[in-house]
């Protein structure tokens, strides 16, 4: 069971809380601007507020492309990489300690630390992989000659082929020599040929050059273009969460990857590959906080119909829609405004619509109360308390995840929520709370968004009554814009220029493995340009992916002077 420590945890406390710092200035500054938008708001996702938020822990100059820390392969990347390298189907890293996340993503380099605990898992995995690789069926993928006859020469030949793949870069002769020496030492100690070569494979799979994505420092301070192999790794781990394949490595070797046309062609090729589904599984699910769906515990007394098959159907609806967006089949804004979706019989029952005649999610028209991300049961269930909906969480989620509008954290010594009197609606309870001046500024921003979704209960079932009174989803935003229905609100969000910019910001964090620096004009210019391309394309995600990769912040790094 995962913990409840997700970004909204502070707010789960109350269901409504008071927030300080949402000054009238912030709340009211949209006058004349986008209704919800935050084109100029802070860069840091995740609603932080303390010193260092939006930083990367790096001392690289703000006026340059910055750098990404040496990046340990995370759980997903390790599994995918050993699969692509060795053809193994062992999912060895699934039992590894989960990776720490930052800004909502588990691939932020600075948060991926190494300890003897983690290393001991990598060691066990390397032993299992080496054993499998030397089995008769797999042997040819790592060894190209007769080991018993060829001895050191065979080890050397095999490594010359294997090591550059494993380490994702050309290797030096002395790097091979040192591994051959390891073979010899083990042989001298009485190991069999296979045992000794197994040690060599283990060592190769535990070396820093395998376990980490390393961009070496040139020793000359300043920005430099990534070399082809560094760029190939950044690209393949962004789009595939795995190592470069032979063709991408070839493009790195012949220099074509470093040109715009070559890079652009590789982006298109990688996106068309099955492995690009990792963008949905890793970027999509984390951006939308969908992984939390695995950890929700709707109260069985209140939501007796909730079960794992419903949970699966909910997840599939959102993931399949995201996959269409990732593939460029639909615009991002469609995610908010669509009237169709992927529903199976279980979810159709939950939505009160006719069965679709399949246990597999089927693309179909939805009833008027459904359509769009904000009405999907997955998100509504993640953003709920075990026994009831959570309008404040929902409002905060829209602001943080869709619009990158970061609210300051609640002040200390939050006043207690007024006791929920029987027969009081959620809207009345929240309204009572907003009278408090310390609560009003932020809740004026969050509450109307969340209350617009009150027709959907804690597991996303449609309802029209709350505490004996009809639900009124209408609301007015802080700039005075009014809406009557959740669909109208979704339409407003879909048109908000903050939406594409926010998705771009999240995608940069994921793609780079670091957050954009809030105080860096260089990074901000990259975000502006990528957002512009994305918007110009009609919000097609592959165009945004391309814009991120083609940006200087992705293709360059800042080196430091040798010490």
């Amino acid at each position: 069971m995962r913990g409840f420590g997700f970004s909204l945890s502070m707010l789960t406390a109350l269901g409504l809380v008071c927030l300080g710092g949402c000054t009238a200035n912030i709340a009211g500054q949209q006058q004349g601007g986008p209704p919800l938008g935050t084109a100029g708001s802070t860069m840091a996702a995740g609603g932080g507020g303390g010193a260092g938020v939006g930083g990367t822990g790096s001392t690289a100059p703000l006026g340059g492309p910055g750098r990404v820390a040496m990046h340990r392969l995370n759980v997903t990347e390790y599994n995918n990489t050993v699969h692509d390298l060795l053809g193994t189907d062992q999912r060895l890293s699934e039992n590894f300690p989960p990776d720490d996340t930052a800004y909502g993503f588990d691939n932020v380099a600075s948060a991926l630390s190494m300890t003897d605990v983690t290393l001991s898992y990598y060691i066990d995995a390397a032993k299992k992989l080496a054993t499998e690789a030397l089995s008769p069926a797999k042997r040819a993928s790592v060894i190209s000659c007769n080991l018993e006859a060829g001895k050191e020469a065979c080890v050397s030949d095999s490594l010359n082929a294997f090591l550059p793949k494993a380490w994702r870069r050309p290797t030096q002769p002395d790097e091979v020599t040192r591994l051959v020496a390891l073979y010899t030492a083990n042989k001298t100690d009485g190991a069999t040929d296979d045992e000794a070569f197994g040690r060599v494979l283990q060592a190769a799979l535990l070396a820093p050059s395998f376990l980490f994505r390393i961009e070496q420092n040139s020793g000359v301070a300043g920005a430099r273009p990534l070399d082809g192999y560094e760029l190939a790794s950044r690209l393949s781990y962004f789009l595939w969460s795995s190592m470069p394949d032979a063709e991408l490595t070839g493009a790195a070797a012949n220099g074509s990857l470093s040109g715009d046309a070559g890079l652009s062609g590789q982006i298109a090729r990688l996106l068309a590959d099955n492995r690009a589904s990792s963008l949905s599984q890793n970027f999509g699910s984390q951006w939308l906080t969908l992984r939390s769906l695995e950890n929700v515990h709707p109260d069985a007394m209140v939501y007796g119909s909730f079960d794992d098959s419903l949970r699966d159907a909910m997840r599939e609806e959102t993931m399949r829609f995201f996959a269409d967006i990732a593939a460029g089949k639909r615009a991002l804004s469609d995610f908010l405004t669509t009237n169709s979706g992927y529903v199976n019989d279980r979810l159709a029952q939950h939505y009160g619509m006719p069965a679709v005649g399949s246990t597999t999610p089927t693309f179909t028209m939805l009833p008027p109360a459904r359509g769009g991300l904000l009405t999907q049961a997955s998100i509504l269930t993640v953003l709920a308390h075990p026994k009831e909906s959570a309008p404040v969480l929902r409002g905060k989620w829209i602001l943080n995840q869709l619009l990158c509008k970061d609210l300051p954290p609640p002040p200390p010594n939050v006043p207690q929520e007024p006791a929920a009197a029987t027969g009081t609606t959620r809207r009345e309870r929240l309204a009572a709370h907003r009278v408090e001046p310390t609560c009003k500024a932020c809740h004026d921003m969050m509450d109307p968004l969340g209350l617009a979704l009150e027709n959907y209960d804690g597991i996303g079932q449609f309802r029209t009554m709350d505490a004996g009174a009809p639900i009124d989803p209408s609301g007015t935003l802080s700039d005075g814009t009014s809406f009557q229905t959740p669909q109208e609100l979704a339409g407003i969000i879909a048109k908000d220029p903050a939406l594409p910019r926010c998705v771009a910001k999240h995608l940069f964090t994921y793609g780079l493995g670091r957050s954009l620096r809030a105080d860096s004009d260089f990074d901000t210019a990259m975000l502006d340009a990528a957002t512009q391309s994305f918007t110009n394309s009609g919000q097609l995600l592959p165009k945004l992916v391309e814009a991120v990769v083609m940006s200087d912040v992705f293709r360059q790094r800042e080196d430091e002077a040798a010490q």
Binding site: G3, G48, A51, G104, S110, S113, L179, R199, P208, S292
Partner: protein, 480 residues
């Protein structure tokens, strides 16, 4: 071999080198206590049995009126506060000390983020740097202990938790997730992952050695493992000059990890009679998994596989709803709604359940004879939380439940009530700025949590004279 003689022999087994043990495999364990291999100068008196440390985390604090006895002095099983009744029922109240009035002012966040800052401060007594990337904290007390006690056992320490790390977003108001989810820290910048799968933890404790191999074969395996680690050290060291200073910090983490694993190759071997013990199964069911976790911890102590264990009943904010005691709401959320009718009773129920688990486990340790006493007697067991009470989010007057006699260093059955010499410290820290917190910590009050940690280290034979912001052993805890 009887349980008792096993325990006695295990007491000194850890002091033998792995090689010595392997040479005499199957014989060593039956030998009587050997004076010649006992460590000298580590403890005042020759140990009759190993002393262990165990650190338990319970999320969301306690309720003072249901936890703290009304008077200081001996605990009365017939008048135990409501939350402590399970200890009396399990017959272990006399093995417990309740410390009240112990402050951990380092746990105060800058403005907010109490659960992350408090959880990370529980075993470090260092204020967390408020960042999402680039965490800075300090070494945790269990790792200080492991540096000494860990040399005596097959594994230096064991970190377990009921909830996985990972999660979404900043986790707590600008504090990195690692603070909210990791109790144990290798050093200032390295959170130490916990194991959440009991079967996996059990197998790791045993090591990957195949019990059917001969001593000769195993020694060769060990040399092969070592050859790989030596290669990695060499390879990583050569990489250093080719990296930025920031990356060299990461490389240092790697080098330290390799060296630590290498040291474990030379550590004591798993006793033969423990090697074939069957591990418990993992389960998605919380209660079943908790039972399995207790099996693992008991196993670790029974076979002396490690003497330092950290365990969290959840992460900060955890453990979520507790349907097994009919708590359908998120426990953490409940602590924020203490004015709602019926909620204080539900929170009390959550805490009572936690103490029931502690009591059940203490009872198991007590039921294992060892030397002239039992394993609980030879343990220093520590329980605390991220916040004092869940509602106010204070970091003074923290939960501080100690159990076991640390091999005779601590008398139990007491409520020891502490007060700060200067009450201004907690008022300052509660202003929730970094500067006020630093000023508060600088006031040398003796009722600080770091002093409790220091006392327990000393009770367990760790030659520490200070820990974090300690001013000295907490008064009145250790036998003089």
């Amino acid at each position: 071999m009887s349980r008792r003689s096993l325990g006695t022999s295990l007491g000194q087994r850890g002091f033998l080198s792995r090689r010595a043990l392997l040479r005499g495999a199957g014989v060593t364990l039956a030998l009587p206590f050997l004076e010649s291999v006992a460590p000298r100068g580590l403890r005042a008196a020759p140990p009759s049995a190993p002393v262990r440390l165990m650190y338990w985390f319970i999320p969301n604090g306690i309720l003072y009126d249901k936890w703290i006895p009304k008077t200081a002095g001996m605990l009365d099983p017939l008048a135990a506060p409501e939350s402590l009744v399970p200890l009396a029922d399990a017959g272990v109240l006399g093995d417990v000390n309740i410390l009240s009035g112990v402050d951990n002012l380092c746990g105060y966040p800058e403005t907010v983020g109490d659960h992350a800052s408090g959880a990370s401060a529980m075993l470090t007594c260092v204020p967390a740097k408020k960042v999402i990337e680039g965490v800075e904290l300090g070494i945790s007390v269990d790792q200080v202990a492991a540096a000494t006690l860990g040399q005596l056992t097959p594994r230096p320490s064991l970190e377990l938790g009921m909830a996985k790390s990972g999660g979404v977003g900043d986790c707590d108001s600008g504090y990195a997730c690692a603070y909210a989810q990791t109790l144990s820290w290798n050093d200032k910048t390295t959170p130490r992952p916990k194991r959440t799968d009991p079967k996996d933890a059990w197998l790791w404790l045993l090591g990957t050695e195949d019990a059917s191999l001969t001593v000769e074969q195993r020694e060769r395996m060990r040399r092969g493992d070592k050859s790989v680690l030596d290669y990695l050290l060499n390879e990583a060291t050569g990489l250093g000059p080719k990296l930025t200073s920031e990356d060299r910090v990461k490389l240092d983490q790697y080098l330290t990890s390799v060296r630590t694993v290498e040291k474990q190759l030379d550590s004591a071997a798993v006793p033969v009679e423990c090697q074939s013990a069957k591990p418990p199964e993992n389960s998605t069911d919380y209660i079943k998994r908790l039972g399995a976790m207790m099996d693992v911890m008991e196993f670790a102590y029974r076979c002396d596989l490690t003497r330092v264990v950290t365990f969290g009943l959840g992460n900060a904010f955890g453990p979520g709803p507790m349907p097994w005691i009919e708590i359908g709401d998120d426990y953490h959320s409940l602590t924020h709604r203490m004015t709602d009718p019926g909620v204080p009773e539900q929170v009390a129920k959550c805490i009572l359940w936690e103490v029931q688990q502690i009591a059940a486990f203490l009872k198991r340790l007590k039921a294992m004879p060892e030397g002239d006493h039992n394993v609980l007697y030879n343990t220093a067991f520590f329980v605390s939380s991220d916040v004092g009470e869940g509602g106010p989010h204070n970091h003074d007057n923290m939960a501080c439940l100690l159990a076991g006699n640390a091999g005779g260093a601590i008398a139990t059955g007491r409520h020891i009530a502490y007060k700060p010499e200067d009450p201004n410290a907690k008022r300052l820290a509660a202003k929730r700025t970094a500067a006020d917190r630093a000023a508060a910590i600088a006031i040398p009050n003796s009722n600080r949590l770091a002093n409790v940690h220091l006392s327990l280290l000393q009770a367990a034979g760790v030659p520490a004279t200070s820990f974090a912001d300690s001013t000295g052993p907490i008064p009145g805890l250790l036998n003089t």
